[in-house]
């Protein structure tokens, strides 16, 4: 198993956060943080191309928005794309391995994009695929260097650092922090917590508890209610994912308490609430636009243009008091991720469930 509290990764994340993104201005999905280019001329082919995508699943709103981004990007580039076939693994490693194998055996792909369900499990399948095809991996990684590039943002450590620092700076002396986590064992979430926790410890912040909500609103609310009842007052809420942020705030409202300092995520319902209630809040992001980047990278590879690799670090912007206004959009659905970088894509906003 991987180590979720690795000082090296932590330091690296801090470093990345300080870096200035290179690449086209205002297009974070094409930018990178101190990456080097790799030569792809050996993959050059005449287009249009057949792109295959093995998807871990679309079992949560983040993946849904990302998946929509990706399809929109495919439409945007339809001139270069002959076919785009996707297989959904429904969150089953076993199935995703089979999916990848049948893509490889089916020789109807020029390139394979993989969004792994879990890192370790998918590695052999990806290695096998690398032998036949150029492969692009994004979101979660695999334990091999064989893919042409691995597209992903700064990630969990960055998230933890950004959020913990915000709370550390806003929290009154001796204030109480409640950590709300979705579930244990998921790498991208564990690193968020480990990084934040590390900072909380360093700064001697009083974390009264860390509970797993299973991403369920009702449960989140109950847990927060219980903590308020037990500790009288909770000053700040730290979350490893924003899906239930609004529920957490409502718990304070229902208990007739002042709103807490809170770090959520870039879901619209949270941003709208933030603006409406004038919260002291902060929204880190795990940008869904990386789903676009995967397509962009694939096309570059097939055209033989150099791409950032073997790992392509995307910037990981956060939403603050200052930038809030630019991201709030009541027309978009509650669980839409504002950092989708999709405003320029065909079909926006309806395609993402927004109202024109």
């Amino acid at each position: 198993a991987q180590n979720f509290d690795d000082p090296k990764d932590f330091a690296y994340a801090e470093e990345l956060l300080k870096m200035k993104p290179q690449g086209p201005e205002g297009k974070p999905w094409e930018q990178n943080l101190g990456g080097k280019e790799v030569d792809t001329s050996k993959y050059k082919k005449p287009g249009p191309y057949r792109i295959c995508f093995s998807n871990a699943g679309v079992d949560n709103p983040w993946r849904v928005v990302g998946w929509t981004d990706m399809q929109a990007q495919v439409d945007k580039d339809k001139a270069d794309i002959k076919s785009f076939s996707a297989a959904d693994a429904e969150g089953k490693d076993d199935k995703q391995i089979s999916d990848i194998n049948s893509f490889v055996s089916g020789d109807s792909c020029d390139i394979l994009i993989v969004s792994p369900n879990t890192t370790a499990a998918l590695t052999p399948a990806v290695e096998a695929a690398c032998k036949k095809l150029p492969v692009v991996v994004f979101d979660r990684g695999v334990l091999t260097q064989c893919p042409v590039t691995f597209v992903n943002p700064i990630g969990g450590y960055g998230w933890g650092i950004q959020t913990a620092n915000f709370i550390a700076e806003k929290l009154p002396k001796g204030g109480k922090v409640l950590g709300l986590r979705i579930l244990p064992g998921v790498d991208v979430l564990e690193t968020r917590w480990s990084a934040a926790n590390r900072i909380f410890k360093e700064k001697g912040i009083n974390v009264v508890g860390a509970e797993f909500t299973g991403g369920d609103n009702a449960k989140t609310k109950s847990i927060v209610e219980d903590y308020i009842r037990r500790f009288g007052k909770i000053d700040a809420i730290w979350m490893d994912a924003g899906a239930t942020a609004v529920a957490a705030i409502e718990a304070f409202e229902d208990a007739g308490q002042p709103n807490p300092i809170i770090t959520g995520e870039d879901q619209e319902d949270f941003l709208v609430k933030w603006q409406k209630e004038k919260l002291t809040a902060f929204a880190p992001t795990y940008p869904t636009y990386q789903w676009r980047s995967a397509i962009i990278a694939s096309l570059k590879i097939l055209k033989g243009e150099p791409v950032i690799g073997p790992t392509w670090k995307l910037p990981q912007p956060d939403i603050t008091e200052a930038t809030l206004a630019t991201y709030v959009d009541p027309k978009m659905p509650p669980l839409h991720y504002a950092m989708c970088g999709c405003k320029d894509l065909p079909g926006y906003p309806q395609r993402w469930g927004g109202k024109p």
């Binding site: 369920d216 009702a218 529920a247």
Partner: protein, 330 residues
């Protein structure tokens, strides 16, 4: 071996019957809740109790709906999906506009009715065992909800919709606070109790669950009864969904696992799977016990995972003791 002429000795019978009606789960609940109260006295205040009831209301409602299907000898696994569909569909139809709330709720119950009827018809006429049939509809309804919303909710639930799960009336005489959810709970469970234990229909449900062939030869409309049971279960799921959505707001995973929890609650409440035995009091008591258990484990700070373990043990021991009582007390 005592035999008395018909009619005699019924007072004793009635006494035993009443004794039997003092539901074991009720006792379990009271004990568990007492412990909770000792660890966290605020639970003993009216407000604390009301809050507890508000939280357990959805499960209690689901359980008392599921009970009808269990009593008729089947299972309804599709509940979970229907709860999700209710929340997501509600947010799409009402779309944060209070004026839409009422017809939205109507529409949701319409959907529930359709799904329940579908379950019943598949079981009665395609003769697919309900555990498989409702597994199938579970997948279908889940898929439908996701297709409809494109994978995640596309609107907000207006406040008057959410009131059913969220609104709490303050400065109520005696009890102080009164969550609307508790009102819904009382109304729904009273209806369920009336339907199952007072009406002729309830007796037909038990007869069908006990011996459908005999019921048929006695003139009971077996299929109709069965369909009705599934419809009631579905309607309870919609009600539960409305309340969960109201309490927590829109999300995708609301329903997952609720069907099994409802069945578990019933079983803890002394309901017999494969039909013939069970009571609304038991189902509700079972649901309360489960929630009291969760709260308790929460308070003693047991890790999430071990709560599953505890629930598993409680389930088995509840049924085992029930089976034992059945064998050793006529």
């Amino acid at each position: 071996m005592t035999t008395t002429v018909a009619g005699e000795g019924w007072p004793r019978g009635r006494a035993i019957a009443i004794a039997k009606h003092v539901n074991a789960a009720m006792v379990v609940f009271v004990v568990l809740y007492a412990v909770v109260g000792i660890l966290q006295p605020s639970y003993l205040e009216p407000a604390g109790l009301m809050n507890f009831l508000r939280r357990s209301a959805p499960l209690a409602i689901l359980a008392s709906g599921q009970l009808f299907v269990l009593a008729a000898g089947g299972f309804d696994l599709s509940m979970s999906a229907l709860v999700t569909l209710t929340v997501i569909g509600g947010s799409m139809l009402a779309d944060n506009n209070p004026d839409n709330t009422w017809w939205t709720i109507g529409a949701l119950y319409g959907i529930g009715l359709a799904v329940g009827a579908l379950n019943g018809l598949i079981v009665s006429f395609l003769k697919v065992p309900s555990i498989i049939a409702t597994l199938g509809t579970l997948l279908c309804v889940d898929g439908a909800a996701m297709m409809w919303s494109g994978g995640s909710p596309r609107g907000y639930l207006p406040d008057n919709f959410r009131a059913f799960g969220r609104l709490v009336l303050h400065d109520v005489p005696v009890i102080g606070t009164f969550p609307i959810a508790v009102g819904v709970l009382i109304v729904f469970t009273l209806l369920a109790w009336w339907g199952l234990h007072v009406t002729v229909f309830g007796q037909r449900v038990f007869a069908v669950g006990d011996n459908p062939r005999a019921a048929e030869l006695a003139g009971v409309r077996v299929s109709a009864t069965r369909v009705a049971a599934f419809v009631i279960s579905a309607l309870s799921a919609v009600t539960g969904g409305i309340m969960l959505g109201g309490f927590g707001g829109v999300s995708v995973g609301v329903g997952s696992g609720l069907a099994l929890q409802a069945i578990a609650a019933c079983v803890i409440g002394g309901v017999q799977l494969m039909g013939g035995r069970g009571s609304v009091v038991g189902a509700v008591a079972g649901a309360f016990s489960l929630f009291a258990l969760f709260t308790l484990l929460n308070l003693v700070g047991l890790p999430q995972s071990l709560r599953d373990t505890a629930q598993g043990l409680i389930l088995i021991s509840a049924v085992a003791s029930g089976a034992w009582r059945l064998r050793h007390a006529g």
